[in-house]
Symmetry: C2
Subunit: 125 residues, 2 copies
Amino acid sequence: MSRQREAILSAVRESCCHPDADMICARVKEDIPHVSLGTVYRNLGRLAEEGLIRRIAVPFAADRFDKTLTPHGHAVCPSCGDVSDLPEYISASLEKALGECISYELTVRRECEECKKLKNIQFKN
Amino acid sequence: MSRQREAILSAVRESCCHPDADMICARVKEDIPHVSLGTVYRNLGRLAEEGLIRRIAVPFAADRFDKTLTPHGHAVCPSCGDVSDLPEYISASLEKALGECISYELTVRRECEECKKLKNIQFKN
DNA sequence: AAAAAAGTAGGAATAATTACTGTTATTAGT
DNA sequence: ACTAATAACAGTAATTATTCCTACTTTTTT
C-alpha cells in the first residue's frame, strides 16, 4: 500500500459524490502534485478488483468510483450530471425479482432535488 | 431517409441479438460495400435520437442498439458477451419502485442458457 | 548494503466515438 | 430542364477514456 494508493483510496472514501478518475486525480494532486493519471487509473482498477471500492460504469460518461460496497443503483441528473445513490428498497425489490445474477448496473436518469428547485424558481419569474 | 440510413435501420430491425456499430456496419456492407463506419455511427445516433431505435450502453463494452422501444433491462453473459432482454415483469416491478424517472439502464450480468449448458457438460467429463 | 520486487511518472498506444472536409446526391425554385 | 440550396456520404483526423510500456525510484528481503 504505497503513499499514492493510500491517497487514492482516501480520496474515494472522503468523496460524497461519485468521482471519476479525473476528479480523483485532481484531488490527489493537492497532496502529491506529481501523481500521474495512469497511476490513478491503475490503482483505482486494483482497488476495485480487491473489493475496497466499487467501479460503476455510467452510460455516456466516464466510469465513476464508489466507496459504498453493497450493491445499489445510481441516479444521474440529466441537468447537472450529479450521481447519487438510489435508496435501498429499490435494489432490494430488484434483486428479489432478478433471482440468480452475478452483479448488475442500474442507472436511472432523473432530475436531482437541486435542479428541480432551480427550475421551479425559474418558472415562477 | 437515404439508402444507407434505410439499410442501417433495417439491419437493427432484422437483428435478433443486440448489435453494436461494428456488427451493423459489417451487415450493411453486404448490401452497400463502401459504407463507412462514420456513417453507421452517425445514423445510429440519429435514429436513436429520433426514437426509431434504442441505444443501450453496456458497461465495459461498446454501445449496442436495440429495435425494441419499450423500456426493459438487459442481461449480459460474462462468458460469451451475448446480450439478451430481461423479461417484462422485472422492468414492471422496477418502474413501480422507481416512480418518477426519465429513463433507466439496467444491465445484469448473468450466464446465458447456452453457456450454462456448456459448463455442465464440461463438469461432467 | 546489494539484489529483487513492487510501484511510479510520463508518454505512447488503443478503442470507441465524434467532428471535419471535400464530394455527391437530392430537392426546390425559376 | 437548369441552377442554387440543402442534406448526406466517404474518408480521415481528432477526441476521450483508458490501458500499456519503459525507464526510474522506492521499498523489502536477504
